[in-house]
């Protein structure tokens, strides 16, 4: 009898362990990076030669608004209630592998402060909320610092500064997005409204999870050592970010004014005031300025004023040229997601010339002609019939009348599947997608499921 019981226990633990490993495989697919690639411009790595020259210390990892930790992606597929404290350790270890050290430290610090404040001083909380309002006046900051000096230790003051830095960074991220939207012009208003809706829905979900996580932390702190506590708090990164989102929401709701253009102006102004005080961490290195789209645009404009734009133009051209040969994102490699549909003969020619070292300017013209022909015969005729074409003509008329163009209004696509396109062997990824995402939905576990 005892043996049988043992066997049963073993099987149970096995099945649970398998269940636990599910999120790990999703991470092995590098889906977090994929989300970046899809939603933002592809983050280009520096060419090898240039990377050595420009090898400055890298800035801490920036928070992506699109990263999987923030939004609806099944990092943990198991329902949280059913997991015991011992198993928590297991999962926590796995998640801590992904979160970088700096993030862990910040999160620990943040949790400590938040927990203390919630328990002790409601006045401080209020001051903090004021501080979160979109227009940050330096006076308020000073007052707050003074109050905190009275109450809290010196160590925590440092910590709070860090947090404020983070907040500023987040504001910056927002502004980047906004600037991009400005390029797309009036679309931004609609997009913002949509985003608000989405965020609110997500917050509802994430707040629930937050409560659950807090409960877990209490259990851990009772059972385990201090080390495990620190790790468990690293797990709390997602609820923290949800709080940040709620802050953003409050900003949005406060900002709601009749003129949508005045919104953006206000925000940009606020950040300039902040920048006077401290440059954000992301903009400190030359590397990161080349990395981001907006900073590059500003840098380019600056160089144009200084009459040395040709340097950055050449650097960009070289980067684009190297993109063609990139085995991961290139156009010629058979496994890359951006492989183009050209004839075998033409492809062989190009590769042969490359191997011989003949990098003549005509290297790609034949392939480019073929692709142009393909677009002209197939895609162009479809485009002329699509709903985009009348939009284009309207915009063209607007430009001729001296008005601002609207820009293409994108269709809503199933973003859920969009993430999986750039997978290398997509047939393999399909099966994994099915096992870990679609099966639980069909079984009815989808309520515990974060997307």
């Amino acid at each position: 009898m005892t043996d049988q019981k043992k066997k049963e226990e073993k099987t149970e633990t096995k099945s649970e362990v398998e269940h636990m490993e599910a999120p790990d495989i999703l991470k092995m697919l590098n889906l977090e990076n994929l989300a970046d690639k899809i939603n933002r411009r592809p983050s280009r790595e520096l060419p090898k030669g240039l990377a050595n020259i420009l090898n400055e210390p890298k800035s801490p990892t920036s928070k992506n608004p699109f990263s999987f930790e923030n939004k609806r992606v099944p990092l943990s597929i198991t329902p949280i209630d059913s997991v015991d404290a011992n198993q928590n350790q297991y999962r926590i270890r796995r998640q801590s592998q992904i979160i970088t050290r700096s993030q862990i430290q910040n999160n620990d610090i943040r949790n400590q402060i938040l927990s203390r404040r919630q328990s002790h001083d409601p006045n401080e909380l209020r001051s903090k909320i004021k501080n979160r309002s979109p227009i940050q006046s330096p006076r308020q900051n000073k007052i707050e610092n003074e109050n905190e000096n009275e109450n809290v230790n010196e160590n925590e003051n440092k910590i709070e500064n860090e947090i404020e830095n983070q907040n500023q960074n987040e504001n910056q991220n927002e502004n980047q997005n906004e600037n991009e939207n400005e390029d797309q012009n009036q679309n931004q208003n609609q997009n913002q409204n949509q985003n608000q809706n989405q965020n609110q829905n997500q917050n509802q979900n994430q707040n629930q999870n937050q409560n659950q996580n807090q409960n877990q932390n209490q259990i851990d702190s009772e059972n385990d050592d201090n080390k495990s506590q620190s790790k468990s708090k690293s797990q709390n990164s997602s609820p923290n970010q949800s709080q940040n989102q709620s802050r953003r929401e409050s900003q949005n709701q406060n900002d709601k004014s009749p003129n949508p253009e005045s919104q953006t102006r206000n925000r940009t102004l606020t950040i300039r005031e902040d920048q006077k005080e401290q440059t954000p961490v992301e903009m400190r290195t030359f590397d990161s300025i080349l990395e981001h789209k907006i900073s590059l645009a500003y840098f380019k404009q600056f160089l144009r004023d200084e009459f040395c734009e040709e340097n950055i133009l050449f650097w960009e051209a070289v980067r684009q040229y190297q993109e063609i040969f990139d085995p991961v994102e290139g156009f010629l490699e058979t496994q890359s997601p951006r492989e183009i549909n050209i004839n075998n003969i033409v492809k062989k020619k190009i590769i042969q010339k490359m191997e011989e070292g003949k990098f003549i300017p005509d290297l790609f013209t034949e392939a480019a002609d073929l692709i142009r022909n393909l677009m002209k015969t197939d895609s162009y005729s479809k485009f002329a019939k699509s709903s985009y074409y009348p939009q284009l003509i309207e915009d063209w008329r607007r430009i001729k009348n001296g008005q601002k163009p609207i820009g293409p209004q994108t269709k809503k696509e199933t973003q859920f599947f969009k993430r999986f396109i750039l997978e290398k062997n997509y047939m393999d990824s399909l099966s994994k997608l099915y096992d870990f995402v679609i099966k639980p939905i069909q079984k009815g576990n989808w309520k515990n499921h974060q997307f």
Binding site: N344, I345, L374, F417, L430
Partner: protein, 351 residues
């Protein structure tokens, strides 16, 4: 004060949630009513011609703008065919007539783009096509990449070279335009909305298929049977029929499509009938030990494909057709309609 604001927010959130749920229900209803057909297959198997046939059968056919585009495409296609054949002549060490040698040189210097077409070049291509060496290289076309419609257009070159040439429906059906990406067209078939998905078939295009794998009602897999002695457009080494079989195995047994009904359409049977008399089928599949008949060979291919996609959850229907023949395709789509009806009845519990 704070509480009141919170309550207001809650109410707004609840109202918004209700709105979202209503919209979801509506979209669910629409999705249940809609029929979604996936047309898949390897490159150059005739998926887009199926779509063109549907355009003729269930819509108004082709517009004037379409016809003009096809006219240009057909004429430039002829030039590319002639170029490929000329390269074949060089490869096989055949000799052209002396008067044609100069024209051949000019032709080989032309680029492969649609804008390169001129009225003189079409007349020149007509002259070249009458050369016996060109016809020799045409018969050995399996050694290089020549589209299947080349024979049809080169035979009708007199009509196409004329100034007032307007492409007929048959010309448009035979015309080859390789598709990129995914195209979705909606049809009304017997008052039932059909959503038909046409895709590009080359290896680099297959990454994009996944967009439309969810909630399909029927999978139509197109196989070009006549390509059993040809090599792939993409890498020039693997056999096309082998590739097509492998593709069918991977896609049809995929978790998204494994329990969907499937129609396998063996296409280009007319070209297959011609070819089977000249080329032995044993070259492609060494397991085949029957006689080199049309019927036996096609039975063998059918068993291969059905075995690859066999499943307890679904049924596989097999059709033989020539996609350029409108009557045959009409018959196929009638059969498809009946299978879709069966599907619906099964879901409702009548069968």
């Amino acid at each position: 004060m704070g509480n009141k604001n919170l309550k207001k927010k809650r109410k707004e959130e609840i109202a918004r949630n209700e709105l979202v749920e209503q919209e979801l229900k509506k979209s669910d209803l629409v999705q249940k009513q809609q029929v979604k057909l996936l047309i898949l297959g390897a490159g150059d198997s005739g998926k887009s011609t199926l779509l063109k046939q549907m355009q003729i059968l269930y819509k108004d056919g082709f517009s004037k703008e379409d016809k003009q585009l096809y006219r240009n495409v057909i004429r430039t296609n002829i030039i590319t065919y002639i170029k490929i054949l000329l390269k074949g002549v060089q490869m096989l060490d055949l000799k052209l007539h002396k008067s044609n040698e100069k024209i051949a040189e000019d032709f080989l210097n032309l680029p492969d783009i649609i804008d390169s077409f001129t009225p003189n070049s079409i007349l020149a291509s007509k002259q070249l096509w009458n050369d016996p060496a060109m016809k020799m290289s045409f018969e050995k076309r399996a050694q290089f990449q020549l589209a299947d419609s080349a024979g049809y257009f080169l035979d009708n070159i007199d009509r196409i070279a004329s100034e007032n040439y307007k492409p007929s429906d048959q010309d448009i059906l035979n015309c080859r335009i390789s598709t990129t990406g995914v195209k979705v067209v909606e049809f009304l078939v017997n008052n039932q909305p059909w959503k038909v998905v046409d895709v590009g078939g080359q290896r680099s295009e297959r990454k994009k298929w996944i967009h439309h794998f969810d909630d399909t009602t029927l999978l139509i897999y197109v196989v070009a049977v006549n390509e059993y002695d040809q090599k792939l457009f993409e890498d020039n080494t693997t056999n096309r029929l082998h590739e097509s079989l492998k593709l069918f195995e991977t896609t049809a047994n995929n978790q998204f499509l494994s329990n969907k009904n499937c129609v396998i359409l063996f296409n280009k049977t007319d070209l297959f009938k011609d070819k089977i008399q000249k080329v032995n089928f044993n070259k492609c599949f060494e397991d085949f030990k029957g006689s080199n008949n049309y019927e036996e060979v096609i039975k063998f291919i059918k068993t291969l494909f059905v075995k690859a996609g066999k499943n307890t959850k679904r049924s596989i229907f097999v059709h033989y057709s020539c996609a350029t023949n409108t009557n045959e395709i009409r018959f196929v789509f009638d059969a498809v309609q009946s299978t879709i009806l069966e599907n619906i009845l099964k879901e409702q519990g009548f069968m």
